[in-house]
Protein backbone atom coordinates (compact mmCIF):
# COMPACT_ATOMS: atom_id res chain seq x y z
CA UNK A 1 0.00 0.00 0.00
CA UNK A 2 2.76 2.47 0.87
CA UNK A 3 3.96 2.99 -2.67
CA UNK A 4 5.59 6.30 -1.75
CA UNK A 5 7.96 4.98 0.85
CA UNK A 6 10.43 3.31 -1.46
CA UNK A 7 13.31 5.30 0.05
CA UNK A 8 16.23 3.34 1.41
CA UNK A 9 14.87 1.15 4.17
CA UNK A 10 18.08 0.29 5.99
CA UNK A 11 19.69 -3.07 5.50
CA UNK A 12 16.83 -4.61 3.54
CA UNK A 13 18.20 -3.29 0.23
CA UNK A 14 18.74 -6.19 -2.09
CA UNK A 15 22.02 -7.03 -3.75
CA UNK A 16 20.66 -5.71 -7.03
CA UNK A 17 19.73 -2.35 -5.54
CA UNK A 18 23.10 -2.01 -3.91
CA UNK A 19 24.82 -2.72 -7.20
CA UNK A 20 22.68 -0.06 -8.92
CA UNK A 21 23.64 2.50 -6.28
CA UNK A 22 27.31 1.59 -6.58
CA UNK A 23 27.10 1.99 -10.35
CA UNK A 24 25.55 5.46 -10.00
CA UNK A 25 28.23 6.49 -7.51
CA UNK A 26 30.96 5.29 -9.83
CA UNK A 27 29.49 7.23 -12.70
CA UNK A 28 29.33 10.49 -10.78
CA UNK A 29 32.92 10.00 -9.66
CA UNK A 30 33.92 9.44 -13.28
CA UNK A 31 32.21 12.70 -14.28
CA UNK A 32 34.06 14.67 -11.59
CA UNK A 33 37.36 13.03 -12.52
CA UNK A 34 36.89 13.84 -16.22
CA UNK A 35 35.93 17.43 -15.41
CA UNK A 36 39.10 18.01 -13.42
CA UNK A 37 41.12 16.13 -16.02
CA UNK A 38 39.81 18.32 -18.83
CA UNK A 39 40.76 21.51 -16.93
CA UNK A 40 44.24 20.22 -16.15
CA UNK A 41 44.87 19.12 -19.74
CA UNK A 42 43.64 22.44 -21.16
CA UNK A 43 45.78 24.54 -18.80
CA UNK A 44 48.84 22.32 -19.28
CA UNK A 45 48.50 22.46 -23.08
CA UNK A 46 48.23 26.25 -22.91
CA UNK A 47 51.32 26.56 -20.68
CA UNK A 48 53.35 24.09 -22.80
CA UNK A 49 52.32 25.80 -26.03
CA UNK A 50 53.76 29.04 -24.63
CA UNK A 51 56.94 27.33 -23.42
CA UNK A 52 57.53 25.76 -26.83
CA UNK A 53 56.78 29.05 -28.58
CA UNK A 54 53.60 27.92 -30.34
CA UNK A 55 51.56 30.88 -29.07
CA UNK A 56 52.69 34.35 -28.08
CA UNK A 57 52.16 35.08 -24.37
CA UNK A 58 52.08 38.81 -25.17
CA UNK A 59 48.64 38.34 -26.73
CA UNK A 60 47.37 35.19 -25.09
CA UNK A 61 49.18 35.28 -21.73
CA UNK A 62 49.78 31.98 -19.93
CA UNK A 63 48.20 30.24 -16.93
CA UNK A 64 51.18 30.83 -14.65
CA UNK A 65 51.20 34.59 -15.42
CA UNK A 66 47.45 34.80 -14.79
CA UNK A 67 47.94 33.02 -11.50
CA UNK A 68 50.73 35.44 -10.53
CA UNK A 69 48.56 38.41 -11.49
CA UNK A 70 45.69 37.10 -9.36
CA UNK A 71 48.07 36.51 -6.45
CA UNK A 72 49.41 40.06 -6.73
CA UNK A 73 45.89 41.49 -6.81
CA UNK A 74 44.89 39.44 -3.83
CA UNK A 75 47.95 40.21 -1.70
CA UNK A 76 49.06 43.69 -2.81
CA UNK A 77 45.84 45.00 -4.34
CA UNK A 78 45.26 46.53 -7.76
CA UNK A 79 46.38 49.91 -9.07
CA UNK A 80 43.03 51.36 -7.98
CA UNK A 81 42.93 49.71 -4.56
CA UNK A 82 42.31 46.32 -2.96
CA UNK A 83 40.71 43.72 -5.23
CA UNK A 84 37.80 43.05 -2.88
CA UNK A 85 36.82 46.72 -2.98
CA UNK A 86 36.81 46.77 -6.76
CA UNK A 87 34.80 43.59 -6.81
CA UNK A 88 32.40 44.97 -4.24
CA UNK A 89 31.71 48.01 -6.42
CA UNK A 90 30.96 45.84 -9.44
CA UNK A 91 28.83 43.47 -7.37
CA UNK A 92 26.85 46.32 -5.87
CA UNK A 93 26.07 47.71 -9.32
CA UNK A 94 25.18 44.27 -10.62
CA UNK A 95 22.95 43.26 -7.73
CA UNK A 96 21.10 46.58 -7.51
CA UNK A 97 20.59 46.59 -11.28
CA UNK A 98 19.51 42.96 -11.20
CA UNK A 99 16.91 43.56 -8.50
CA UNK A 100 15.46 46.73 -9.97
CA UNK A 101 15.47 45.28 -13.48
CA UNK A 102 13.87 41.98 -12.55
CA UNK A 103 11.25 43.51 -10.26
CA UNK A 104 10.26 46.00 -12.96
CA UNK A 105 10.28 43.22 -15.54
CA UNK A 106 8.12 40.89 -13.45
CA UNK A 107 5.68 43.65 -12.59
CA UNK A 108 5.30 44.94 -16.16
CA UNK A 109 5.22 41.43 -17.62
CA UNK A 110 2.40 40.32 -15.37
CA UNK A 111 0.46 43.57 -15.73
CA UNK A 112 0.64 43.50 -19.53
CA UNK A 113 0.15 39.75 -19.70
CA UNK A 114 -3.10 39.99 -17.75
CA UNK A 115 -4.45 42.85 -19.85
CA UNK A 116 -4.92 41.62 -23.40
CA UNK A 117 -5.41 45.01 -25.06
CA UNK A 118 -2.48 46.69 -23.29
CA UNK A 119 -0.37 43.63 -24.08
CA UNK A 120 -1.19 43.80 -27.79
CA UNK A 121 -0.52 47.55 -27.95
CA UNK A 122 2.78 47.54 -26.04
CA UNK A 123 4.25 44.27 -27.29
CA UNK A 124 5.42 45.80 -30.59
CA UNK A 125 7.36 48.54 -28.79
CA UNK A 126 8.87 46.06 -26.38
CA UNK A 127 10.03 44.01 -29.38
CA UNK A 128 11.60 47.10 -30.96
CA UNK A 129 13.32 48.07 -27.73
CA UNK A 130 14.53 44.50 -27.32
CA UNK A 131 16.03 44.47 -30.82
CA UNK A 132 18.23 47.52 -30.16
CA UNK A 133 21.66 46.55 -28.80
CA UNK A 134 21.07 47.99 -25.36
CA UNK A 135 24.76 48.25 -24.50
CA UNK A 136 24.96 51.47 -26.56
CA UNK A 137 22.65 53.05 -24.00
CA UNK A 138 25.66 52.92 -21.66
CA UNK A 139 27.11 56.01 -23.32
CA UNK A 140 23.88 57.92 -22.79
CA UNK A 141 23.65 56.81 -19.18
CA UNK A 142 27.19 58.04 -18.55
CA UNK A 143 26.19 61.43 -19.97
CA UNK A 144 23.07 61.49 -17.78
CA UNK A 145 24.28 59.89 -14.56
CA UNK A 146 28.00 60.63 -14.69
CA UNK A 147 30.92 58.31 -13.89
CA UNK A 148 29.47 57.07 -10.57
CA UNK A 149 27.41 54.03 -9.77
CA UNK A 150 24.15 55.36 -11.27
CA UNK A 151 25.13 54.90 -14.90
CA UNK A 152 26.21 51.26 -14.35
CA UNK A 153 23.09 50.39 -12.41
CA UNK A 154 20.95 51.96 -15.13
CA UNK A 155 22.69 49.90 -17.82
CA UNK A 156 22.31 46.71 -15.77
CA UNK A 157 18.62 47.48 -15.23
CA UNK A 158 18.03 47.92 -18.95
CA UNK A 159 19.90 44.72 -19.74
CA UNK A 160 17.88 42.72 -17.22
CA UNK A 161 14.47 44.27 -17.67
CA UNK A 162 13.68 43.03 -21.17
CA UNK A 163 14.70 39.45 -20.56
CA UNK A 164 12.65 39.14 -17.39
CA UNK A 165 9.77 41.11 -18.84
CA UNK A 166 9.60 38.88 -21.93
CA UNK A 167 9.54 35.71 -19.86
CA UNK A 168 7.04 36.98 -17.29
CA UNK A 169 4.76 38.12 -20.11
CA UNK A 170 5.01 34.79 -21.91
CA UNK A 171 4.57 32.88 -18.67
CA UNK A 172 1.36 34.72 -17.89
CA UNK A 173 0.04 34.13 -21.39
CA UNK A 174 0.84 30.42 -21.20
CA UNK A 175 -0.99 29.87 -17.90
CA UNK A 176 -3.26 26.84 -18.25
CA UNK A 177 -6.80 27.91 -19.32
CA UNK A 178 -8.28 25.00 -17.38
CA UNK A 179 -6.63 26.03 -14.13
CA UNK A 180 -7.88 29.59 -14.56
CA UNK A 181 -11.42 28.43 -15.35
CA UNK A 182 -11.28 26.08 -12.37
CA UNK A 183 -10.24 28.93 -10.07
CA UNK A 184 -13.06 31.15 -11.29
CA UNK A 185 -15.63 28.39 -10.74
CA UNK A 186 -14.24 27.66 -7.28
CA UNK A 187 -15.05 31.26 -6.45
CA UNK A 188 -11.91 33.28 -7.19
CA UNK A 189 -11.98 36.97 -8.08
CA UNK A 190 -9.81 38.25 -10.93
CA UNK A 191 -7.23 39.43 -8.39
CA UNK A 192 -7.20 36.04 -6.66
CA UNK A 193 -6.73 34.32 -10.01
CA UNK A 194 -3.74 36.55 -10.75
CA UNK A 195 -2.07 35.85 -7.42
CA UNK A 196 -2.96 32.21 -6.86
CA UNK A 197 -2.92 30.83 -10.41
CA UNK A 198 -1.26 33.10 -12.94
CA UNK A 199 1.80 34.13 -10.93
CA UNK A 200 2.64 30.65 -9.65
CA UNK A 201 2.40 29.21 -13.14
CA UNK A 202 4.49 32.06 -14.60
CA UNK A 203 7.09 31.50 -11.89
CA UNK A 204 8.81 28.69 -13.81
CA UNK A 205 9.36 31.06 -16.71
CA UNK A 206 10.40 33.97 -14.51
CA UNK A 207 12.95 31.96 -12.55
CA UNK A 208 14.42 30.57 -15.76
CA UNK A 209 14.94 34.14 -16.98
CA UNK A 210 16.62 35.17 -13.72
CA UNK A 211 19.45 32.73 -14.46
CA UNK A 212 20.21 34.41 -17.76
CA UNK A 213 19.57 37.91 -16.56
CA UNK A 214 22.05 37.85 -13.71
CA UNK A 215 24.74 37.36 -16.33
CA UNK A 216 23.24 40.26 -18.27
CA UNK A 217 23.34 42.48 -15.19
CA UNK A 218 27.02 41.64 -14.80
CA UNK A 219 27.62 42.50 -18.48
CA UNK A 220 25.78 45.81 -17.97
CA UNK A 221 27.84 46.73 -14.92
CA UNK A 222 31.19 45.75 -16.44
CA UNK A 223 30.53 47.44 -19.78
CA UNK A 224 29.38 50.55 -17.91
CA UNK A 225 32.66 50.58 -15.99
CA UNK A 226 34.49 49.98 -19.22
CA UNK A 227 32.96 53.05 -20.80
CA UNK A 228 33.96 55.27 -17.92
CA UNK A 229 34.31 54.87 -14.17
CA UNK A 230 36.57 55.30 -11.16
CA UNK A 231 36.27 51.82 -9.68
CA UNK A 232 35.25 48.29 -10.56
CA UNK A 233 36.38 45.14 -12.37
CA UNK A 234 35.47 46.72 -15.71
CA UNK A 235 37.95 49.51 -15.07
CA UNK A 236 40.51 46.88 -14.08
CA UNK A 237 40.07 45.26 -17.49
CA UNK A 238 40.23 48.61 -19.27
CA UNK A 239 43.46 49.48 -17.44
CA UNK A 240 44.99 46.08 -18.23
CA UNK A 241 44.02 46.55 -21.86
CA UNK A 242 45.65 50.02 -21.88
CA UNK A 243 48.96 48.57 -20.65
CA UNK A 244 48.83 45.53 -22.96
CA UNK A 245 48.57 43.32 -19.87
CA UNK A 246 46.78 40.23 -21.26
CA UNK A 247 47.24 38.37 -17.97
CA UNK A 248 45.30 41.15 -16.21
CA UNK A 249 42.36 40.81 -18.61
CA UNK A 250 42.25 37.02 -18.09
CA UNK A 251 42.59 37.38 -14.32
CA UNK A 252 39.67 39.81 -14.21
CA UNK A 253 37.71 37.38 -16.35
CA UNK A 254 38.33 34.61 -13.83
CA UNK A 255 37.17 36.85 -10.97
CA UNK A 256 33.94 37.58 -12.88
CA UNK A 257 33.45 33.91 -13.72
CA UNK A 258 33.70 32.93 -10.05
CA UNK A 259 31.13 35.58 -9.14
CA UNK A 260 28.74 34.51 -11.91
CA UNK A 261 29.09 30.86 -10.89
CA UNK A 262 28.32 31.66 -7.25
CA UNK A 263 25.27 33.66 -8.29
CA UNK A 264 24.11 30.82 -10.52
CA UNK A 265 24.42 28.46 -7.58
CA UNK A 266 22.35 30.75 -5.34
CA UNK A 267 19.68 31.18 -8.01
CA UNK A 268 19.41 27.43 -8.52
CA UNK A 269 18.95 26.99 -4.78
CA UNK A 270 16.21 29.63 -4.83
CA UNK A 271 14.55 27.95 -7.80
CA UNK A 272 14.59 24.53 -6.12
CA UNK A 273 13.01 26.07 -3.06
CA UNK A 274 10.26 27.91 -4.91
CA UNK A 275 9.52 25.13 -7.38
CA UNK A 276 9.61 22.19 -5.00
CA UNK A 277 6.18 21.16 -6.29
CA UNK A 278 7.63 20.18 -9.64
CA UNK A 279 8.28 16.53 -10.42
CA UNK A 280 11.90 15.49 -10.20
CA UNK A 281 13.00 14.69 -13.72
CA UNK A 282 16.26 12.91 -13.07
CA UNK A 283 16.88 11.23 -9.79
CA UNK A 284 20.57 10.62 -9.32
CA UNK A 285 21.13 7.92 -6.76
CA UNK A 286 23.99 8.31 -4.37
CA UNK A 287 24.58 11.99 -5.10
Amino acid sequence: MNIFSTTSSGGSASEEERRAVAKAVNRSRLVIFLRIGLAVVTLATWELAVIYGLIDPFFFSRPSDIYTQLAVWLTEGTAQGPLWRELLVTMEETVIGFFIGSLLGIFCGIALGRNKLAGDVFSIYIKIANAIPRVVLGSIFIIIFGLGMGSKVALAVVMVFFVVFGNAFQGVREADRNLIANAYILGASKRQVTFSVVIPSALTWILASLHVSFGFALVGAVVGEFLGSRHGIGLLIATAQGTFNAAGVFAAMIVLAVVALAAEYLLTALEDRLLKWRPVQFVEHGM
Binding site: D176, N178, L179, N182, I185, L186, G187, L275, W277
Partner: protein, 258 residues
Protein backbone atom coordinates in the same frame (compact mmCIF):
# COMPACT_ATOMS: atom_id res chain seq x y z
CA UNK B 1 -43.93 18.88 -9.09
CA UNK B 2 -40.15 18.87 -9.50
CA UNK B 3 -38.44 22.25 -9.80
CA UNK B 4 -36.26 22.80 -12.84
CA UNK B 5 -32.75 23.86 -11.83
CA UNK B 6 -31.06 24.13 -15.20
CA UNK B 7 -32.98 25.14 -18.30
CA UNK B 8 -31.56 25.53 -21.78
CA UNK B 9 -34.16 27.05 -24.08
CA UNK B 10 -33.50 26.94 -27.83
CA UNK B 11 -29.82 27.69 -27.42
CA UNK B 12 -27.45 27.87 -30.37
CA UNK B 13 -23.76 28.44 -30.05
CA UNK B 14 -21.35 29.66 -32.70
CA UNK B 15 -17.62 30.14 -32.51
CA UNK B 16 -15.80 32.60 -34.75
CA UNK B 17 -12.19 31.70 -35.45
CA UNK B 18 -9.58 34.49 -35.85
CA UNK B 19 -9.77 33.91 -39.63
CA UNK B 20 -13.47 34.75 -39.50
CA UNK B 21 -14.69 31.18 -40.01
CA UNK B 22 -17.84 30.36 -38.09
CA UNK B 23 -18.39 26.93 -36.59
CA UNK B 24 -21.71 26.08 -35.07
CA UNK B 25 -21.42 23.89 -32.01
CA UNK B 26 -25.05 23.71 -30.90
CA UNK B 27 -28.29 24.20 -32.79
CA UNK B 28 -31.65 25.00 -31.19
CA UNK B 29 -31.01 22.80 -28.23
CA UNK B 30 -33.39 22.57 -25.29
CA UNK B 31 -32.76 20.71 -22.08
CA UNK B 32 -34.18 20.83 -18.59
CA UNK B 33 -32.66 19.29 -15.48
CA UNK B 34 -34.75 19.05 -12.33
CA UNK B 35 -33.61 19.43 -8.77
CA UNK B 36 -31.62 16.44 -7.60
CA UNK B 37 -31.51 14.85 -11.05
CA UNK B 38 -28.47 13.08 -12.39
CA UNK B 39 -28.46 13.73 -16.12
CA UNK B 40 -25.86 12.27 -18.43
CA UNK B 41 -25.18 13.64 -21.91
CA UNK B 42 -23.69 11.37 -24.53
CA UNK B 43 -22.93 12.25 -28.10
CA UNK B 44 -20.36 11.95 -30.87
CA UNK B 45 -17.12 13.93 -30.77
CA UNK B 46 -17.55 17.61 -31.54
CA UNK B 47 -21.30 17.71 -30.99
CA UNK B 48 -21.07 20.46 -28.38
CA UNK B 49 -21.28 18.45 -25.15
CA UNK B 50 -18.65 20.54 -23.40
CA UNK B 51 -20.06 23.74 -24.88
CA UNK B 52 -23.33 22.98 -23.07
CA UNK B 53 -21.52 22.98 -19.75
CA UNK B 54 -19.64 26.16 -20.64
CA UNK B 55 -22.94 27.93 -21.23
CA UNK B 56 -24.27 26.97 -17.82
CA UNK B 57 -21.16 28.34 -16.10
CA UNK B 58 -21.39 31.52 -18.21
CA UNK B 59 -17.77 30.98 -19.31
CA UNK B 60 -18.98 30.61 -22.92
CA UNK B 61 -22.38 32.28 -23.34
CA UNK B 62 -24.78 31.10 -26.09
CA UNK B 63 -25.15 33.04 -29.37
CA UNK B 64 -28.93 32.83 -29.25
CA UNK B 65 -31.41 31.32 -26.83
CA UNK B 66 -31.69 31.46 -23.08
CA UNK B 67 -29.91 29.62 -20.28
CA UNK B 68 -31.58 29.69 -16.87
CA UNK B 69 -30.13 28.49 -13.60
CA UNK B 70 -32.50 28.33 -10.62
CA UNK B 71 -35.12 30.02 -12.79
CA UNK B 72 -32.99 33.07 -13.53
CA UNK B 73 -31.01 33.82 -16.70
CA UNK B 74 -27.30 33.23 -16.06
CA UNK B 75 -25.19 36.31 -15.46
CA UNK B 76 -21.74 35.47 -14.20
CA UNK B 77 -20.54 32.33 -12.46
CA UNK B 78 -23.14 31.04 -10.03
CA UNK B 79 -21.52 30.22 -6.67
CA UNK B 80 -23.72 27.12 -6.44
CA UNK B 81 -22.02 25.53 -9.43
CA UNK B 82 -19.24 23.01 -9.15
CA UNK B 83 -17.26 21.85 -12.17
CA UNK B 84 -15.05 18.82 -12.60
CA UNK B 85 -12.76 19.01 -15.64
CA UNK B 86 -11.62 16.26 -17.95
CA UNK B 87 -7.96 17.19 -17.65
CA UNK B 88 -6.16 17.73 -14.38
CA UNK B 89 -7.22 21.10 -13.10
CA UNK B 90 -5.80 20.79 -9.59
CA UNK B 91 -3.07 23.31 -8.87
CA UNK B 92 0.29 21.57 -9.25
CA UNK B 93 2.06 23.98 -6.87
CA UNK B 94 -0.31 23.29 -3.99
CA UNK B 95 -0.33 20.11 -1.94
CA UNK B 96 -3.48 18.05 -1.52
CA UNK B 97 -4.90 19.85 1.51
CA UNK B 98 -4.18 23.33 0.11
CA UNK B 99 -5.79 22.34 -3.18
CA UNK B 100 -8.95 21.25 -1.43
CA UNK B 101 -9.00 24.29 0.89
CA UNK B 102 -8.68 26.81 -1.94
CA UNK B 103 -12.41 27.05 -2.72
CA UNK B 104 -13.47 28.19 0.77
CA UNK B 105 -10.45 30.53 0.90
CA UNK B 106 -11.50 32.12 -2.40
CA UNK B 107 -14.93 32.55 -0.88
CA UNK B 108 -13.61 34.45 2.11
CA UNK B 109 -13.14 31.76 4.79
CA UNK B 110 -10.02 32.17 6.90
CA UNK B 111 -7.20 29.77 6.20
CA UNK B 112 -7.40 27.77 9.43
CA UNK B 113 -11.12 27.12 9.09
CA UNK B 114 -10.75 26.23 5.41
CA UNK B 115 -8.01 23.73 6.23
CA UNK B 116 -10.18 22.09 8.84
CA UNK B 117 -12.96 21.65 6.30
CA UNK B 118 -10.44 20.45 3.74
CA UNK B 119 -9.00 17.84 6.11
CA UNK B 120 -12.47 16.39 6.46
CA UNK B 121 -13.00 16.25 2.70
CA UNK B 122 -9.58 14.77 2.04
CA UNK B 123 -10.57 11.97 4.41
CA UNK B 124 -13.98 11.52 2.77
CA UNK B 125 -12.45 10.99 -0.67
CA UNK B 126 -10.06 8.45 0.81
CA UNK B 127 -6.83 10.44 0.67
CA UNK B 128 -6.07 10.53 4.40
CA UNK B 129 -2.30 10.36 4.79
CA UNK B 130 -1.65 12.13 1.51
CA UNK B 131 -2.47 15.65 2.74
CA UNK B 132 1.01 16.99 2.09
CA UNK B 133 1.71 15.29 -1.21
CA UNK B 134 1.92 17.36 -4.36
CA UNK B 135 -0.28 16.37 -7.33
CA UNK B 136 2.67 15.01 -9.32
CA UNK B 137 3.30 12.53 -6.52
CA UNK B 138 -0.21 11.08 -6.88
CA UNK B 139 -1.70 8.67 -9.39
CA UNK B 140 -4.31 9.83 -11.91
CA UNK B 141 -7.13 8.39 -9.83
CA UNK B 142 -5.90 10.11 -6.69
CA UNK B 143 -5.65 13.43 -8.51
CA UNK B 144 -9.25 12.94 -9.58
CA UNK B 145 -10.18 12.42 -5.94
CA UNK B 146 -8.47 15.72 -5.11
CA UNK B 147 -10.50 17.37 -7.87
CA UNK B 148 -13.71 15.89 -6.48
CA UNK B 149 -12.94 17.04 -2.93
CA UNK B 150 -11.99 20.47 -4.27
CA UNK B 151 -15.38 20.74 -5.96
CA UNK B 152 -17.52 19.12 -3.26
CA UNK B 153 -16.12 21.23 -0.42
CA UNK B 154 -18.05 24.21 -1.83
CA UNK B 155 -21.23 22.12 -1.51
CA UNK B 156 -22.48 22.91 -4.99
CA UNK B 157 -26.17 22.54 -5.77
CA UNK B 158 -25.31 22.02 -9.41
CA UNK B 159 -22.50 19.73 -10.41
CA UNK B 160 -21.17 19.88 -13.96
CA UNK B 161 -18.80 17.14 -15.02
CA UNK B 162 -16.96 17.15 -18.33
CA UNK B 163 -15.78 13.60 -19.04
CA UNK B 164 -14.14 13.58 -15.63
CA UNK B 165 -13.04 9.96 -15.70
CA UNK B 166 -12.07 9.71 -19.38
CA UNK B 167 -8.34 9.68 -18.67
CA UNK B 168 -8.51 6.92 -16.05
CA UNK B 169 -7.96 3.22 -16.58
CA UNK B 170 -11.04 0.98 -16.55
CA UNK B 171 -10.70 -0.34 -12.98
CA UNK B 172 -10.00 3.08 -11.47
CA UNK B 173 -12.87 4.51 -13.44
CA UNK B 174 -15.36 1.97 -12.04
CA UNK B 175 -14.08 2.73 -8.55
CA UNK B 176 -14.41 6.48 -9.05
CA UNK B 177 -17.92 6.11 -10.45
CA UNK B 178 -19.01 4.33 -7.29
CA UNK B 179 -17.28 6.99 -5.20
CA UNK B 180 -19.04 9.74 -7.13
CA UNK B 181 -22.45 8.17 -6.58
CA UNK B 182 -21.94 7.87 -2.83
CA UNK B 183 -20.72 11.47 -2.55
CA UNK B 184 -23.63 12.63 -4.71
CA UNK B 185 -26.20 10.82 -2.60
CA UNK B 186 -25.03 12.82 0.42
CA UNK B 187 -24.90 16.12 -1.42
CA UNK B 188 -28.22 15.88 -3.31
CA UNK B 189 -26.96 18.07 -6.14
CA UNK B 190 -28.31 18.23 -9.67
CA UNK B 191 -25.73 16.80 -12.02
CA UNK B 192 -24.96 17.10 -15.69
CA UNK B 193 -22.40 14.49 -16.58
CA UNK B 194 -20.89 14.67 -20.05
CA UNK B 195 -19.31 11.48 -21.36
CA UNK B 196 -18.93 9.48 -24.53
CA UNK B 197 -19.08 6.22 -22.66
CA UNK B 198 -22.65 4.91 -22.90
CA UNK B 199 -22.24 2.39 -20.09
CA UNK B 200 -20.86 5.03 -17.77
CA UNK B 201 -23.85 7.23 -18.59
CA UNK B 202 -26.40 4.50 -17.85
CA UNK B 203 -24.65 3.29 -14.73
CA UNK B 204 -24.62 6.72 -13.16
CA UNK B 205 -27.58 8.68 -14.41
CA UNK B 206 -31.34 9.00 -13.89
CA UNK B 207 -31.64 10.22 -17.44
CA UNK B 208 -29.41 9.89 -20.49
CA UNK B 209 -29.66 12.52 -23.21
CA UNK B 210 -28.27 11.66 -26.65
CA UNK B 211 -27.03 14.54 -28.78
CA UNK B 212 -26.87 14.42 -32.56
CA UNK B 213 -23.62 15.04 -34.39
CA UNK B 214 -22.38 18.67 -34.58
CA UNK B 215 -23.99 21.13 -34.58
CA UNK B 216 -25.64 19.19 -31.79
CA UNK B 217 -29.21 19.12 -30.67
CA UNK B 218 -31.11 16.71 -28.44
CA UNK B 219 -31.81 13.54 -30.43
CA UNK B 220 -33.40 11.41 -27.77
CA UNK B 221 -33.70 11.08 -24.03
CA UNK B 222 -33.93 7.90 -21.92
CA UNK B 223 -35.08 7.54 -18.33
CA UNK B 224 -32.96 5.03 -16.48
CA UNK B 225 -35.19 3.05 -14.13
CA UNK B 226 -32.35 1.25 -12.33
CA UNK B 227 -32.82 1.28 -8.56
CA UNK B 228 -30.70 3.41 -6.24
CA UNK B 229 -28.38 3.06 -4.47
CA UNK B 230 -26.62 1.37 -7.35
CA UNK B 231 -23.60 -0.82 -7.43
CA UNK B 232 -21.92 0.53 -10.53
CA UNK B 233 -19.85 -2.55 -11.23
CA UNK B 234 -22.83 -4.95 -10.80
CA UNK B 235 -25.54 -2.89 -12.50
CA UNK B 236 -24.02 -3.29 -15.93
CA UNK B 237 -24.80 -7.03 -16.06
CA UNK B 238 -28.56 -6.66 -15.59
CA UNK B 239 -31.00 -7.34 -18.43
CA UNK B 240 -32.41 -3.84 -18.24
CA UNK B 241 -28.98 -2.27 -18.49
CA UNK B 242 -28.02 -4.25 -21.56
CA UNK B 243 -31.31 -3.43 -23.24
CA UNK B 244 -30.87 0.33 -22.60
CA UNK B 245 -27.29 0.22 -23.69
CA UNK B 246 -28.32 -1.39 -27.00
CA UNK B 247 -31.03 1.21 -27.60
CA UNK B 248 -28.73 4.17 -26.91
CA UNK B 249 -25.95 2.68 -28.98
CA UNK B 250 -28.40 2.27 -31.84
CA UNK B 251 -29.26 6.00 -31.60
CA UNK B 252 -25.66 7.02 -31.38
CA UNK B 253 -24.45 4.71 -34.14
CA UNK B 254 -26.35 6.68 -36.76
CA UNK B 255 -24.63 9.83 -35.55
CA UNK B 256 -21.09 8.59 -35.51
CA UNK B 257 -21.21 6.90 -38.90
CA UNK B 258 -19.30 8.81 -41.54
Amino acid sequence: MPTPVIELINVSCKFVSPEGKITQALREMSLCVNEGDFCAIVGPTGCGKSTTLGMITSLSPPSTGLVKVFGKPVAGIDPNIGFVFQTDAVFPWKNVIDNVAIGPIYRGKNAAEAKKMAADWVRRVGLAGFEHHYPHQLSGGMRKRVALAQTFINEPKILLMDEPFAALDVQTRALMQGELLSLWSELKASVIFVTHDIEEAIALADRVVVLSKGPGTVKSSYDIPLARPRDVSEARYSEQFIHLSKQIWHDLKNEVQI
